[in-house]
């Protein structure tokens, strides 16, 4: 039988505790190229595989600052430089009136940055991913928990890693084709 290129090995668990313990053990054993999959946010799993910080907040901050600055400068340029209008004798640069659009565009840009930043950093949309080749993986969006150690990990060994993963007492360990 010709061997298809291997993406990694995947262990299936039926509760979050086993998954997190498996993640911790794998991290302790020196594996780094791995990912945990759960049907709801499981912060412990991200911590266990050594993923502690995201850059999403930074992206959002930049978005908000950009939006606010853009809105204020736009209003200043329009109402003071490009198209000055005398409205009830108020100063051209009547900054209190400019606060509302500045605030709104800060929120708008920050919100768009949060969404685009999250999707972008996650590499989504991504229609194809090898983990979907495992037919059992469809339960990852229902009630099962998966740990996948990738073949690209320098420590990965087809036999050793499988034995290692089986020591966690998973429901199943299977190959994931690339």
């Amino acid at each position: 039988m010709t061997e298809a290129p291997l993406y990694g090995l995947m262990a299936e668990f039926d509760n979050p505790t086993d998954l997190v313990q498996a993640c911790k053990a794998s991290y302790a054993a020196g594996y780094r190229r791995m990912d945990a999959y759960s049907p709801y946010p499981l912060e412990e799993a991200a911590d266990a595989i050594g993923f502690h910080k995201t850059r999403v907040p930074l992206v959002v901050l930049c978005g908000g600052l950009l939006g606010g600055t853009f809105a204020y400068l736009l209003q200043y340029w329009i109402n003071v430089i490009s198209y000055p209008l005398n409205i009830g004798g108020r100063p051209l640069h009547s900054w209190p009136a400019f606060i509302v659009p500045t605030f709104e565009l800060t929120i708008l840009f920050a919100g768009i940055a949060a969404v685009v930043g999250m999707l972008g950093l996650n590499g989504l949309p991504q229609p194809y991913h090898p983990v979907f080749n495992n037919p059992r993986f469809s339960a990852a969006t229902k009630d099962r928990f998966f740990l996948c150690i990738e073949a690209a990990d320098p420590q990965f060994d087809r036999i050793q890693t499988q034995r290692f993963m089986e020591s966690f007492n998973p429901r199943d360990v299977s190959e994931v084709a690339d």
Partner: protein
């Protein structure tokens, strides 16, 4: 080498009073929650009740299209507006609909930040409600302009005329407030849907459904790294949407409060508009939740506790609204301002006092029944109370806008207002648009957040290491 387990991993025990209903019915597992919510869309055949509701709503929507078509053909003269009442139903409906949207954002953003877990089963359809309510609201500023095909003039863009918007006007602020609100609501709603759409993708049997949900879920696979960024982004979006809950209706109230018309020029307007918005919004949440839980058999997910809590929010915001009304009366008396006093007398005893009396009845007197637990916990009573509040809040905007405009400073310029059939057609039509969209939503999207419901189960928590090995 490894960080210690997070302290938030400990199971959160809910403290229930002896006779307090639970947030989630007993006997659920992650599997049953998933099956139950996906079955509403993927397995359940279309029922006659749904079809009947859809036909009614869709007919009303077509009535709206007809009314708007005729409006574009003839102009705003087909409405009851005239001088001095230049703002009629269009602005009343706009303020009413945009207010209704607020509860969805409050539930999804503020209650998330306050860690009110009970919100998890009502937030998704409440967000959809926000989106559709804002869509209904958004129609009115466009069509009331007289030349709606030039509505894009409101946005600052480098036009060949060299003309720019005037940023000292609250009407321009409103453009920014409402368009930001619509965009953020849509993003919040869609981001919240992605993991559940992935569940739909994996549960769907129909290859087309699989493909469409697959496309919409963007290849979501529940990776721990993705979840971490997702949770961060979701929390930040909630934090960003929170000031929007307070600011959108504040800016809407500026449309009035910045003007000098008696009855509009009041400092109490921003907080009282926001409270009124949440009041009517929760009423609409209940009007939707009560039939949804009944017809789709999700009474164990949207429980009496949710109805009770929403009713309490309604009661509290209703009292703030009542405070707003009494302050208006107090200002009229205490300011010693002739015009303010006349405005109040005209409202309460003038030719359109029927609206004010009904408003007090619907918004203040009848909702006091919500103090009684039996009313809060009996779905049909609560449904009726919510409909009454929705009517009351519409009347509030009618009183503020139409009655204030009809009699201002100069008796020689007084007038009155009579709505035409086209006014009613468009109001009924937006109700049709709203319910058409809601009915389609519950048939094609998860109306209850599946992944957040899973986190409410005790089995979703990571056990402490010691306990796990026993």
């Amino acid at each position: 080498m490894e960080t210690s387990p997070e302290s938030n991993a400990t199971p959160v025990l809910e403290r229930l009073l002896p006779d307090q209903p639970a947030v989630l019915g007993p006997g659920h597992t992650m599997g049953t929650i998933t099956d139950k919510i996906t079955a509403i869309v993927l397995r359940r055949p279309m029922t006659l009740g749904w079809l009947g509701g859809f036909i009614i709503a869709f007919s009303l929507l077509n009535l709206m299209m007809l009314a708007i078509g005729y409006l574009f053909f003839k102009g705003v003269g087909i409405w009851g507006i005239d001088i001095p009442v230049g703002w009629g139903f269009a602005i009343v409906n706009f303020v009413w609909w945009i207010g209704i949207g607020h509860a969805g954002t409050l539930i999804s953003a503020i209650l998330l930040l306050l860690k009110q877990n009970w919100r998890n089963s009502i937030n998704r359809f409440a967000e959809a409600m926000t989106l559709f309510a804002v869509a209904c609201a958004g129609i009115f500023p466009l069509i009331h302009t007289g030349r709606p095909w030039l509505a894009y003039w409101l946005f600052p863009y480098p036009s060949s005329m060299g003309v720019w918007p005037q940023f000292r006007s609250p009407l321009v602020w409103d453009v920014f407030a409402v368009s930001t609100y619509a965009t953020i609501s849509a993003l919040f709603w869609f981001i919240g849907l992605i993991p559940d759409l992935a569940t739909f993708r994996d549960q769907a049997k129909n290859p087309w459904a699989k493909r469409i949900y697959g496309l919409l879920s963007m290849g979501w696979r529940g990776s721990a790294r993705h979840w971490k960024r997702y949770e961060t982004a979701y929390l930040l979006l909630a934090g960003l949407a929170t000031p929007l809950v307070l600011s959108v209706h504040t800016v809407v109230s500026f449309d009035f409060a910045i003007a000098i018309v008696p009855g509009w020029h009041t400092t109490i307007f921003p907080p009282y508009f926001v409270a009124g918005a949440i009041y009517s919004g929760f009423a609409m949440v209940l009007v939707l939740a009560i039939p949804i839980r009944k017809f789709y058999g999700v009474e164990d997910m949207i429980t009496i506790r949710h109805l009770d809590n929403s009713a309490k929010v309604m009661l509290a915001t209703g009292l703030i609204v009542a405070y707003g009304y009494s302050m208006e009366a107090f200002f009229a008396y205490y300011s010693g301002n002739f015009w303010e006093r006349f405005m109040f007398l005209n409202r309460s005893t003038g030719p359109m006092s029927w609206a004010y009396v009904l408003l007090i009845l619907c918004n203040i007197l009848i909702p006091q029944a919500l103090w009684i637990r039996k009313v809060r916990q009996t779905p049909w009573m609560l449904f009726l109370a919510s409909v009454v509040v929705l009517v009351g809040m519409w009347l509030e905007r009618f009183v503020i806008i139409v009655v204030s405009l009809s009699r201002d400073y100069l008796p020689s310029s007084w007038g009155t207002f009579t709505a035409t059939r086209w006014d009613y057609a468009i109001l009924a039509g937006t109700v049709g648009l709203f319910f058409t969209a809601m009915l389609l939503f519950v048939r094609v999207m998860p109306s209850i957040t599946i992944f957040e419901m899973r986190t409410m189960l005790p089995e979703s928590k990571v056990q402490e290491e010691v306990a796990a090995h026993d």
